[in-house]
């Protein structure tokens, strides 16, 4: 009897335990269902928002993004414009440099294009008129025997009007003695004085001065000297001197050759 009671109580306990387990299972399922429902509800809230507000938000973000891009592009344009300005300035500088080099090349080319003394003087005259822009000037050469400078080519000045200048005397003589160029302090206020030119450039082979180029007046439209003029003066100082010197040597040798040939012809006939 007792054993039957114990068995019944045990079964009852098992029944209660089973029901408790089932209840727990149901609770868990319900909890799961409610969680899904909550998620659905949350999604439902979002889905149900005003589409115009959403579009406005999207567009605002897009505008901000485009604004950033615009600022970047504007900054790039400014950089490119600055670079363009630099290039334009550089282009003008290179163009000027190109012109200056062309002038120097032409002057040098022309000076060494002949061995005729008169032609060399003519070319120096052309360079001084056309490339430097002088109106009155002279080329004076040093007579080694008398140590005096004498004009051998002039433009806008009577050759006779120019004095013979002893080496070392006055502006011209000092330039020939020292080999240093002379430039009047103010070209615009310079007053014509044959003994004191506006510019005096020594014509020299290395340190040996063979003469000078003296300038008394610039062309009307030439107000001042430009940097390229000083380069031309430097070029003239050397190249004109060698051109004059070699043409003189050539003329002398031609003359001597002609004389010798005359003697040979006389002796062989």
């Amino acid at each position: 009897m007792l054993k039957d009671d114990e068995r019944n109580r045990g079964e009852e306990f098992l029944q209660v335990f089973k029901k408790g387990a089932e209840f727990t299972q149901e609770l868990l399922k319900e909890n799961e269902r409610l969680r899904y429902r909550l998620l659905d509800l949350e999604n439902g809230v979002t889905d149900g928002a005003d589409p115009r507000v959403l579009e406005l938000t999207r567009l605002s973000e897009r505008v901000a993004e485009l604004e950033r891009e615009k600022q970047e592009i504007l900054a790039r344009i400014r950089r490119v414009e600055e670079e363009n300005q630099d290039f334009a300035v550089r282009y003008v500088e290179i163009e000027d440099e190109n012109n200056n080099l062309a002038n120097l090349y032409i002057a040098s080319y022309q000076l060494h294009s002949t061995l005729d003394f008169r032609e060399v003087l003519q070319i120096i005259t052309e360079i001084v008129i056309n490339l430097i822009g002088a109106e009155r000037f002279a080329v004076m050469l040093l007579d080694e025997k008398t140590s005096e400078l004498q004009a051998v080519a002039t433009e806008g000045v009577e050759r006779g009007a120019l004095p013979r200048v002893p080496l070392g005397q006055g502006v011209i003589g000092r330039v020939a003695a020292s080999g240093e160029s002379y430039f009047a302090q103010d070209v615009t206020s310079y007053r014509l004085n044959y003994e004191s030119p506006m510019v005096c450039i020594p014509l020299k082979i290395k340190e040996h001065v063979i003469g000078v180029l003296v300038i008394y007046k610039l062309l009307l439209q030439k107000e001042k000297f430009l940097p390229v003029d000083y380069e031309l003066f430097t070029l003239l100082a050397g190249h004109a001197a060698t051109a004059i010197y070699s043409s003189r040597l050539y003329s002398d040798s031609e003359r001597k050759l002609s004389t010798i040939q005359g003697f040979i012809d006389l002796l062989t006939k």
């Binding site: 012109n99 090349y105 032409i106 052309e126 360079i127 056309n130 062309l219 009307l220």
Partner: protein, 125 residues
């Protein structure tokens, strides 16, 4: 192939070389040189030129006489002429222009200015 035929009439070889040097920077430029006005007229009669650059002070025939003759020629009546001279005075400029020159450049020439002027007269961009 050259597109523009330009005649330079100038007695100074230095100036001729300087002008040629500058103008050859323009694409399609063919340059013919003449030593004086008479030489220039010979070359003008031998072929057609699109532009003439001439010095004023030249031996045999000066630039002003040449401008006057060219302007009276039916073939060259409208061809642009640029006068180059050492004179900067207004009266020389006016004289050259009254004879029919289109423009005037003074020595020492500015190559950049000359190139711009030639391009303008030949309608080169």
């Amino acid at each position: 192939m050259s597109e523009y035929n330009v005649l330079i009439i100038e007695d100074s070889p230095t100036m001729r070389q300087l002008i040629t040097f500058a103008l050859k920077r323009i694409r399609g430029m063919r340059i013919v040189e003449a030593n004086d006005g008479v030489d220039g007229l010979k070359k003008l009669s031998a072929e057609h030129f699109d532009l003439i650059l001439t010095d004023i002070n030249m031996p045999i025939m000066d630039g002003l006489k040449l401008v006057s003759l060219v302007r009276n020629d039916a073939v060259y009546h409208d061809v642009p002429i640029v006068v180059i001279t050492t004179e900067g005075a207004q009266e020389d400029r006016e004289r050259a222009l009254s004879l029919g020159a289109n423009d005037y450049i003074t020595k020492p020439i500015q190559p950049t200015r000359m190139v711009e002027l030639v391009k303008e007269l030949l309608n080169i961009q």
